[in-house]
Amino acid sequence: MIQVLVNGVFLGCLFAVVAVGLTLVYGVMEVPNFAHAGVIVLAAYATWSASAAGLPFALAALVGIACGAAVSVLTEVVAYRWIIDNPAAAPAVALGLMLILQNTALRLFGGEGRSMDTPYDQVLVEFGGVSLSGVKVALVVLAVLALTALHLILSRTSLGRAMRAVAQDRGAAAMLGIPMRRQYTLAFLIAGLLAGIAAVAYAPTFQVSPYMADEVLLSAFVVVVVGGLGSVWGAVAGGLVLGVVEGLGSAYLSSAYQSAFGFLLLVLILVLKPGGLRGATGRRVA
């Protein structure tokens, strides 16, 4: 039981890191960033390539994270920037970008999965009768570090406060003289860094492939919906809840249907508490 819960927490941390990236971008720009999956994929391949080229893993990981950040910022500069005033076009642009990024990976690295070796993937951590692979421990540690750092940035720095102001009310933030362009780029930069961290952290448990991020992205979107679009702590809490639900479901019911349990959770929430989801029913009339 504890083992299952711990696995759920592992999944939850992964979902949270991905979901926070989605929710930040949504918060400042109202874009459902499907392309986030492509960013994760390219970051994972960058790490894999750097590692295969002989770089030590820690350096390769940094290369991957940097790549994630660069690709994410690139999507903002090349595409999203042009639809700021036209949020209705956002899903279409996001889908187009996802097709481009994923298939770029497919084109460069082929469709078959590659396994990523890390110095810690043979390590098994025993803790109070629960055993966890080094990879999972590393992911949880990385997630906690990354989200704590993000929290400090958002709450303690003027840059972070500006970003929260933008997420609250774009018009008012612009009137206060907050440079909007920079906020958009910054949100994509942070999202890209988080995507890179997620890629480096979880690629070793699965395989690196163009489609590695599909299911994670879907679950992360559910987290975002459950936690409220634009809410960072909602994403963290939602990530943990969804991770535990999927972990329990896959352990006790059927592992093949793991993400289906997340779907059931979403349906249940929508049926039981349609108003409980902050903002899920869109903007209501005042």
Partner: protein
């Protein structure tokens, strides 16, 4: 009246063209013709909820696959083709009803995310319920109708589907859907029962997709989960957007562009989808009403210039 005549006329013409393409083209080209025709039928349904109503349904590939799998299973159980087809389409419409019941509470991007997740779950079922679906490698579909009959049905369905769409589009139901697309709150405050209208639109679109799936299975002979992934839902969304969502002929144009690009041009793995992604973004930014909308705007501009000159 002229509007009806031209819409119904072009629907009939497209039926004839579909028939000629399906019977005239062989091999790979025949496969492309089949996919274009099947997609046209499915996309016509998507055009109701997404085109008229503005709701980005990502459940379409699941409805499409559901129709294909369910009819194959029922046919195997010994039902006659017609009964299997009718039951499949009805059952998928019921599923559409349930999906809409849950997700019509959500709006815009949440609706896209929810329905996309539904498609991912349907894919899990197609892959894992191997007893019925044959698992990841798919299953054969028994021949229920003769191939000739299937071809005729495919061709007729293109025209009939477009005609039905036209009638919906000019009806009060169509007006109400367009009102929801423009401003859902305002529509509701002018008396449009928005939840019910959306529900009906999802059910209708699911019916189209399921029927397209039934015919696809019949003609293709094999079906596999990889044909019904949520990426397929994306591509359908992309296709309709490219064509010009809400316009009668958008499904035809969208299917031609997307299927043509991915199947006909041999660009190597991934490249066609990259091109599609770039094209989709470009059209979204430059011609928000799709290729058809762009053409309309362009001809209007040219005519105005001529009038001035």
């Amino acid at each position: 009246m002229r509007k009806h005549a031209s819409a119904l006329g072009s629907s009939a013409l497209l039926s004839v063209l579909a028939y000629l393409a399906l019977t005239g083209l062989q091999g790979d080209q025949g496969q492309v013709a089949l996919l274009v025709v099947v997609w046209t039928i499915a996309l016509t349904g998507l055009n109701v909820i997404l085109g008229l109503g503005g709701y980005p349904s990502m459940a379409h590939a699941a409805f499409f696959g559901g129709g294909a799998y369910l009819s194959a299973i029922l046919l195997e159980k010994g039902l006659s083709m017609t009964v299997a087809a009718v039951v499949s389409v009805a059952a998928i419409m019921l599923v559409g009803f349930l999906v809409a019941l849950v997700f019509s509470r959500t709006r815009g991007q949440y609706f896209a995310i929810g329905t996309m997740f539904f498609t991912a779950v349907a894919f899990l079922v197609f892959t894992n319920a191997a007893e019925f679906t044959g698992g990841p490698t798919g299953r054969p579909v028994d021949l229920g109708y003769s191939l000739d009959a299937t071809v005729v049905l495919l061709a007729v369905s293109v025209g009939a589907g477009l005609a039905v769409f036209h009638l919906i589009s000019v009806s009060r139901f169509g007006d109400r859907l367009r009102a929801i697309r423009e401003d859902e709150d305002l529509a509701q405050h002018l008396g449009v029962p928005t939840a019910r209208v959306k529900l009906l639109a999802v059910v209708v679109s699911a019916g189209f997709a399921a029927w397209a799936g039934v015919l696809f299975g019949q003609y293709n002979g094999v079906i596999a989960p990889s044909q019904f992934t949520f990426v397929q839902s994306f591509l359908m969304f992309v296709a309709l957007g490219l064509g010009g969502a809400g316009r009668l002929l958008a499904p035809v144009v969208g299917a031609l562009v997307v299927i043509g690009l991915t199947q006909l041009l041999n660009l190597g793995p991934g490249v066609s989808q990259i091109v599609l992604g770039v094209l989709f973004i470009a059209v979204t930014l430059l011609a928000p009403n799709g290729i058809l909308g762009g053409i309309t705007a362009l001809t209007r501009k040219v005519r105005r210039k001529e009038a001035v000159a």
